[in-house]
Symmetry: C2
DNA sequence: CCATTTTATATTGATATCAAGCTTTATAGT
DNA sequence: ACTATAAAGCTTGATATCAATATAAAATGG
């Protein structure tokens, strides 16, 4: 089957997609930035994602998983998986919520706080260097644009065009 | 060891990182956008990454792996892995470069082109909807900022502060 | 109070991502 | 030619990511 002889997409279209696709641009930037921060944070024993996750757990009250996943804009099952190595290393403790025995409460351990404290100055210097390297003043604007980008998908219900995603309860504002 | 009694990071610092960390913002946006395009492209049988990869192979001359990995800003080993399912499905063919027997040349098959052609209008409508949903005119600017972001890491050698990454040859401009 | 539904999370399977280390082939230096 | 180095990819192992599905507990409606 599939004779598929000449369903050629013109090269110009390829160039158009390459130059305009927001998704591609964001994925590229995400990979590059992840490498930058992973490299910088390696001496502290953390990846960029682990740093963000652990930092988000540094709160007065230990949060449940749902809001944390929403804050990081990740699937809840991804959060479950991401927690495992951190639990194994004894940096995060996951305990049953006494007030809702379905739920878990996430908390940094003392050692976890120590690791995070060691990573913080690395984050600061890396981020400062990044700020310097970028077109002046654009950083704040970029952040706002990215925020809007993360927001569009969560807020806009959209008529129902291609396919729906049943999971994910509604509440995005996790923190 | 690790008495680690009171290495408390103030909550205000957590809020600062959450609100300012470019890496976090980009990762968030990347996850959200990936979900959006993955959902949209699912009827075509592609993920956003597979779409970008296959579209980048739609060229007059079949490219080797290195430049493609550089274009997508991903590790070469990631590209090797990403190609496997596409080869298995018969959408991409990987052949030895006759002029340099270390290298490979990547090419869409006829069926691969057909799949890509089916996915293209989905990309178009999804991207158009995304454009509409974003603050007017900001999209071009955002793209430029992201481009700069991907560029900083590749271009700037940086004195040698935290740790170096030996891999990745130099040439970023793959296409 | 009991059945239904909803909510919160876990498990499995597939793909994505990168670091380390390895093999093969080109290229350079002599 | 002959070694030494560099370049292009691959394999392995660990983590990240999400869809589909499963489980348990709370909330809701009789």
């Amino acid at each position: 089957m599939a004779m598929s002889n000449s369903i050629e997409i013109p090269f110009s279209t390829t160039l158009l997609v390459r130059d305009t696709c927001l998704c591609l641009h964001v994925q590229r930037a995400a990979r590059a930035l992840a490498r930058l921060f992973d490299d910088a944070l390696r001496p502290a024993g953390l990846t960029n994602g682990q740093f963000s996750l652990m930092m988000s757990l540094n709160r007065p009250e230990p949060p449940p998983m749902g809001p944390v996943a929403a804050l990081l804009a990740m699937d809840q099952t991804t959060l479950t998986a991401a927690l495992k190595p951190l639990q194994r290393k004894g940096w995060v403790s996951v305990m049953e919520n006494p007030r809702d025995r379905r739920g878990r409460l996430l908390m940094l351990t003392g050692e976890g706080k120590a690791v995070l404290a060691k990573a913080l100055p690395i984050w600061e210097s890396t981020h400062a260097a990044l700020d310097d390297g970028l077109p002046g003043g654009g950083v704040t604007r970029l952040r706002q644009d990215l925020q809007a980008l993360s927001g569009v998908m969560v807020e806009a219900p959209k008529p129902a065009e291609t396919s729906r995603r049943p999971r994910q309860s509604g509440r995005p504002t996790g923190a």
